[in-house]
Subunit: 433 residues, 2 copies
């Protein structure tokens, strides 16, 4: 059988997918057991198609040409963003075409609507490229770990942020210096908001949470903090304490509740995720049968992402060759619904950095306020003075409730002896390695 | 649809699979989209079935009852070993039943015959449980990375050996002390040969090599060395040089040739695989599109292995529910056959430990012999004397050919100033992280 693919979007990933489909056609046919042909390609820019040396007549700037072509079996959407991607995918499915997408923002926002459409029209919707670049994490969670009830998914899923934090850690750069480095190497967009403010990680977390826990959490309900406020001092003090700082996407079951959050996190340097550096991604999964697993690889880049999109194309092509669809229920329902835990109710250990006027009694006052908010101190260090009479105080707490911490810090930051807003960073303890 | 499973073998993994099928029936049905019923169970020991509290009439001590039952769709073989497992699997397939197995020895030895039978009879043969315990590595290589041409697969795939080496490293134990520890914790069999002599790792490597490179390498052609000869001194000296020692299963493409070997290996402590400790397994895969990936998890144990077998059962059940089979060609052919590289032709850096009489000129003589065999020295250290006039000399070489190294060591070990057989351990350099 010949499977005709219509590819919409010749950006970085789209160009990679097109190139592999053209160059590895024979290898793919052998492995898949069906011939996959890049039948039509659409992009706004004709120049991008010319660079690919597509056979004549296959390129269009009008996506409806692909949607209306009855010979196209499978539409691959790689333009990203909500619209027109959503409209195109919905119309493709309505016309009975299977779809593959790597559009994490769209899946996170409108996943339920898209999957309902796939269900209604009896077509496949695959999305391996949406999380973790070249790591086959969607397939692992959805198929490989199918017999597990998951306890936790922790991910370093934004390569840009991880690159920046690694540069800060290894070279002593400030956030802005490291951001410049990332831009210089093409790892950061001109507008880095989506990456460094945690939104991209939140999109991916929404998808992983849905797959892993059967719960669709709207993006607006995912507590999301980025890495802009991480200072070189925090990186250094954390290291002195045996930790590194990572932007972590966290989904975990706590009793009948589910915690879903994205924020900078202190990880013990012995944690599996602590050695994931640079633009690499990794997803840590804890399942009731398998225990701890880690999936590690390049989180971005043309070829890794293309590898994932091509795995999806192969899956759909195999289904088409066998005359089936909807082989893998997606996302599979969970046996019991989990309630989203309020951010106020989470409990972790906290790293706190206070900037205090160095005078007698300061520490006692801070400790007193923390104590009244049920927060107990695990360790405290006064660091060398930064300026006359101003010194940082670094503290690790025992496990404390988020609400208590926020209330305590509000009270502390109102004091005159506190000279800048206190920094508080949550920690994540290793579990059942 | 209801899928009737006949399970043969209630050992550790079989009992785990049976338990999950009984306890998670509803969850599995929801996720798979088909009902999976443990219809018949076979073991030599009726006591094992009683512990499971199977519904009446489902247990038999005679495997032919399962093979002859026309209602059984899928036979799960978990008895291990070559016979009678092979005979049972072949007969099951001949009778049109799909099969799932975790039998690495059998697949490594007789894989071609088994897959040919599956082809001939149009049935599925799945085997996720054969490598890497709970890590879905077979699916990742076969499906997730389908568009990649692989450059290398490096695995820590024997939990027992890795546990022993980790104990030696962390607690300063000798090999035999660490082996006792492993036995004490149930991580080693009474006869540990299969594990500590590298044979189990070689079986798994044969399977990974076949999947990843399309080349079936008979076990007898895989150069296999175990960890019995690793001494505490080597662990310590390697650490001083910035390395740890792991039993590595290695398959890598070098030009038109394929290197396939299992042996203790020095890994730089910054290598991804260096932090895989205890009974954990990990498989490092380097593909042309994805670059370096790592899959990490528990390599053995009842529940992790059961998780993999259940993922296979789910795959077959989905196929059955859709009326298809042979969805994933297995193992998929590679686009070009790779020639197996002769062990003599491999080239790595070597760690060497000489036990010499501490007298003037010894080092010069050794260096001279190495030089005549085209081996150049990267670093050398004479360690503290162990006994009167006897001292260890530890050397790291630059890349050298195996044949040259063996010839040089033979010449060196014939010298009177060498007091015991020289230890040589190959290294593996990090590649394209």
């Amino acid at each position: 059988m010949t499977v005709n693919v219509g590819l919409i979007g010749l950006g970085t990933v789209g160009t990679g997918v097109a190139r592999v489909l053209l160059e590895k056609a024979r290898l793919l046919e052998q492995r898949i057991g069906a011939r996959v042909v890049l039948a039509r390609v659409c992009d706004r820019h004709a120049s991008r198609a010319r660079a690919l040396k597509l056979p004549a007549g296959r390129f269009t700037t009008d996506p409806t040409v692909i949607l209306h072509d009855p010979d196209i079996h499978l539409v691959v959407e790689l333009i990203g963003g909500i619209q027109p991607a959503k409209r195109l995918l919905l119309e493709a499915m309505q016309r009975g075409k299977h779809v593959v997408t790597a559009n994490k923002a769209l899946l996170a926002e409108d996943g339920p609507e898209l999957f309902a459409a796939a269900e209604r029209h009896g077509v496949d919707l695959y999305f391996e490229g949406s999380v973790g670049g070249g790591i086959p994490i969607i397939k692992a969670v959805r198929e490989g770990l199918i017999a597990n009830e998951l306890n936790a998914i922790l991910g370093i899923v934004n390569g840009t942020s991880n690159y920046i934090l690694t540069q800060m850690q290894e070279k002593g750069l400030t956030f802005y210096e490291a951001l410049q480095e990332a831009r210089h190497h093409g790892y950061a967009e001109r507008n880095p908001t989506l990456d460094v403010d945690g939104h991209d990680a939140a999109h991916k977390l929404a998808i992983l949470t849905w797959l892993g826990f059967g719960t669709h959490v709207p993006i607006a309900k995912i507590h999301t903090e980025g890495i802009r406020r991480i200072s070189q001092a925090d990186i250094r003090y954390a290291r002195d304490l045996g930790y590194c700082i990572k932007l972590l996407a966290i989904a975990k079951r706590v009793g009948p509740e589910l915690e879903v959050r994205v924020h900078p996190t202190l990880l013990s340097t012995s944690h599996l995720l602590a050695s994931v550096n640079g633009v690499y991604n990794a997803v840590y999964v804890h399942g009731d049968l398998v225990g701890a697993e880690l999936f590690y690889g390049r989180g971005a880049g043309q070829n890794p992402a293309a590898s994932s999109v091509l795995a999806d194309i192969a899956d759909v092509a195999r289904n088409l060759a066998l005359g089936i669809a909807k082989r893998v229920p997606s996302p599979h329902p969970h046996q019991r619904a989990l309630r989203l835990r309020r951010m106020d109710d989470i409990a972790t250990r906290y790293y706190m950095r206070f900037t205090v006027v160095d005078q007698p009694g300061v520490l006692g006052t801070i400790a007193g306020i923390l104590g009244r908010h049920h927060i107990s101190i695990a360790s405290v260090q006064q660091k060398e003075r930064q300026a006359a009479r101003i010194a940082p105080v670094v503290m690790m707490t025992h496990e404390a409730r988020e609400a208590h911490v926020q209330q305590a810090l509000e009270a502390i930051d109102r004091m005159r002896m506190i000279r800048s807003k206190t920094v508080a960073i949550r920690t994540e303890a290793p579990r059942g390695r």
